[in-house]
């Protein structure tokens, strides 16, 4: 590991802070923490964290408002922590620019994996990749070609775009809205059923077992996530 990364946790639950302190330290991160949105925003601008973990249920401010304010000043990756089963809230946060979410309760492995993806995506931004790998699929963006172990997989242009946007963000959740907006444009952001059909077709072509998809996973009610390539 070249540099130590700093994680800012904004959560009002002292017990959550307590175990995260130990686990993140053990995983080799430096930790900043705030128990209110106000303190969180202050530390976010002063402490230069590499990833922010933000709980949506803060006492002094709506989580979405916090996110809005964060995004005005910084593009640092934000992972939402949410104990609420409130899909709309979660999706709104993702659409507002959060990078991912982890639902409480969670195993520490899950949170650490999300943090790793965020840190990697952060680095990857600088180099636009021409060739992507998703599981055993090779994706050549310039040549518009997908192959599995040397055999070409035939995709329609839309299916290809769909695969590319998911593979580019491997490990990260993309909301229905984000995908629809990128591929079909702003007038189609509500056509979730449409997207479902395309994902189904794509899975038929790229998954080894389309009934138990591995490469593209569904985040129920939120969106899709391409398999994380790991480190």
């Amino acid at each position: 590991m070249t540099t130590r990364h700093t994680i800012l946790i904004i959560d009002d639950e002292p017990q959550i802070q307590r175990f995260l302190r130990h686990s993140l330290a053990a995983a080799g991160y430096d930790l900043l923490h705030a128990e209110t949105a106000a303190a969180g925003l202050r530390i976010a601008s002063g402490g230069r964290p590499d990833v922010i973990v933000l709980d949506l249920g803060l006492p002094d401010m709506d989580g979405k408002a916090v996110l809005g304010q964060l995004r005005q000043t910084t593009q640092v990756p934000v992972i939402i922590l949410s104990a609420r089963d409130n899909e709309t809230e979660k999706i709104a946060a993702l659409d507002l620019g959060a990078d991912d979410f982890v639902a409480k309760p969670f195993g520490i492995g899950e949170l650490l994996a999300r943090i790793r993806v965020c840190l990697r995506a952060d680095r990857a931004l600088a180099v636009p990749l021409q060739k992507l790998v998703l599981g055993d699929l090779g994706i050549d963006i310039e040549a518009h070609r997908v192959d599995r172990a040397g055999t070409a997989v035939k995709l329609t242009p839309k299916e290809f775009d769909l695969l590319v946007i998911l593979a580019r963000n491997a490990g990260k959740v993309l909301t229905h809205r984000q995908i629809l907006q990128t591929i079909w444009g702003p007038s189609h952001v509500e056509d979730i059923a449409y997207l479902r059909v395309f994902i189904g077709q794509l899975r038929q072509k790229i998954e080894l077992n389309p009934k138990e998809p591995q490469l593209i996973q569904t985040e129920p009610g939120v969106g899709y996530r391409a398999m994380d390539q790991g480190n």
């Binding site: 017990q15 307590r18 175990f19 130990h22 686990s23 053990a26 104990a83 609420r84 309760p105 969670f106």
Partner: protein, 514 residues
């Protein structure tokens, strides 16, 4: 005769100035003489004839016509225009028959008699016309006043009505007073129910579909016997009013229409107010439900998150974690498992109370219950400072001691949670007439007045929101106390001191509500 219009055209064309007749006719309603008025006319004329007969010899002939004129005048004044005309014709005939030579015939032999008769019919006609017109003007003014008064009364009644049924009743009453006809208000869905004949059902449907009046057919036409008028059209439950038969005059119908329109507007307004109320209540219920669910989810998941996160940290970093971190994580797990246990216990309590718990009644010493709760508090909140003050000479209480102790404990627990560590909590017990009053006083920051009712609702925490309580304790206490037939409340600040006093009062009667 082709009816008044025809007659008017003929008359005005031949004899009179059009403008004069227009004045006369414009203000005459079509009051057709009734049997009663015709009989009265006959009686007047007979009396006039009799008088003339008695005094015929001593009078000049001119006086005869004057006495007949009186009968014409009386008829017009009492019964209106047409009756006046008929009276003048009958008087003319009687005059001619009885008092113009040759007697007992309608023939006239002398020129001066002919002139006298001609003058009589002219004067009688004019007199009758003018008097009748006055009479009918007065009548119609009276009628207009009656209609206005009625509509005004309706508008008052409508203004006072708070629901649709009251407005409907006001309309039915008003229609009855206006027209003397019974009316019924029918919802579209009920139009096709048995009491209505097929023709009437169709007429009612037509009234609603076109938004127009559907008058009852004249008898003998075989069509509907009811008249229908739409009341409320633009609504999911349109209303139509049905009236027995057709309304006799245009003026009455106009008044009825105005009454119906007024009522329709009020009913529509009442309905939309009711709909808005219902929508708001539904939204309130929804938002309460989602607040409860969100709170429940938060309260259950936060300790779970600590436990799961700590356990997975321990496993993931089993080799690298320092011993101190390990111990801390294990402590965190233990604490949150306990917290979860309390929470689940509270939830079960709540569910049981909601399901309707049967108190197990037994005779207990109230002091023991209070002391039991205080001891439990000392065990749970180490270092909390609770003092129990109770008289020794208190009557026994027939109650469920376990439940009562739980309610008291929850109040004490609440006091301990929401006051700084080491605060003084005082639990006391007093006899007040036929009730026992348990009080739990603290010296904390108190409960703002607006929250004093709310804190007894499930999942409501006092401000400042803390994660210490489950938000259920006081709700459970209230559920228990209600099941025991008592009452619960909070006074804050306590007079002259601040803080809060939670009180539970339980009746000392033998048969308490189960």
């Amino acid at each position: 005769m082709d009816g008044p219009t025809e007659l008017r055209r003929n008359l005005s064309g031949h004899f009179w100035g059009t403008s004069f007749l227009n004045i006369v006719w414009a203000n005459t309603s079509r009051q057709i003489p009734s049997i009663k008025s015709l009989s009265a006319v006959l009686i007047f004329v007979v009396i006039a004839t009799a008088i003339n007969y008695l005094i015929y010899d001593s009078l000049q002939k001119n006086s005869i016509s004057l006495i007949f004129l009186i009968s014409v005048l009386l008829s017009s004044v009492f019964f209106g225009f047409w009756t006046g005309i008929i009276a003048s014709i009958i008087s003319f005939l009687a005059f001619n028959f009885f008092f113009v030579e040759p007697f007992q015939t309608f023939r006239v032999s002398r020129v001066e008699d002919f002139i006298a008769l001609a003058v009589f019919i002219l004067v009688a006609g004019l007199t009758g016309t003018l008097a009748g017109r006055l009479r009918e003007q007065a009548t119609s003014a009276q009628e207009r006043a009656r209609l206005l008064e009625n509509l005004f009364g309706l508008s008052n009644a409508l203004g006072e009505s708070t629901n649709e049924d009251e407005a409907k009743l006001a309309l039915i009453r008003s229609l009855y007073l206006l027209t003397g006809k019974k009316a019924l208000i029918i919802e579209r869905d009920l139009i096709s129910s048995p009491p209505l004949k097929l023709e009437d059902m169709e007429a009612a449907e037509r009234a609603l579909r076109h938004g127009t009046f559907q008058r009852a057919a004249a008898s003998g036409w075989g069509a509907g016997q009811l008249s229908f008028y739409p009341v409320v059209v633009d609504h999911s439950a349109p209303l139509v009013v049905g009236m027995d038969g057709a309304i006799s005059s245009v003026e009455l119908e106009r008044a009825a229409k105005s009454a119906i329109e007024q009522s329709g507007a009020v009913i529509a307004r009442l309905r939309s107010a009711r709909d808005a109320d219902q929508a708001r209540m539904k939204a309130d219920r929804e938002s309460l439900r989602s607040a409860v669910l969100s709170s429940l989810s938060h309260d259950l998941k936060t300790p779970l998150a600590t436990i799961l996160g700590s356990v997975t940290t321990l496993r993931e970093f089993s080799n690298t974690l320092p011993q101190a971190a390990r111990d801390d994580l294990l402590h965190a797990i233990e604490e949150d498992a306990r917290r979860l246990n309390i929470y689940v216990g509270d939830l079960l309590h709540m569910t049981r109370l909601n399901a309707g718990v049967e108190p197990k009644l037994e005779w207990v010493a109230p002091n023991d219950v209070l002391n039991g709760a205080a001891n439990r508090l000392r065990r749970v909140h180490k270092g909390c400072n609770i003092e129990v003050r109770a008289d020794d000479m208190l009557p026994l209480l027939k109650t469920d001691s376990a439940l009562l102790e739980q309610a008291l404990f929850n109040c004490m627990d609440n006091a301990a949670i929401f006051t700084p560590n080491g605060s003084q909590i005082t639990a006391s017990l007093q006899l007040q007439q036929s009730t026992l009053l348990f009080s739990i006083e603290d010296d904390g920051s108190g409960v703002p007045e607006i929250d004093q009712e709310r804190i007894f609702e499930p999942f409501q925490r006092g401000a400042p929101a803390t994660s210490n309580g489950t938000g259920l304790g006081l709700a459970i206490a209230r559920g228990i106390v209600q099941a025991l037939g008592g009452s619960i409340g909070v006074d804050s600040p306590i007079k002259g001191r601040g803080g809060a006093r939670f009180w539970i009062s339980v009746p000392i009667v033998e048969d308490i509500a189960a």
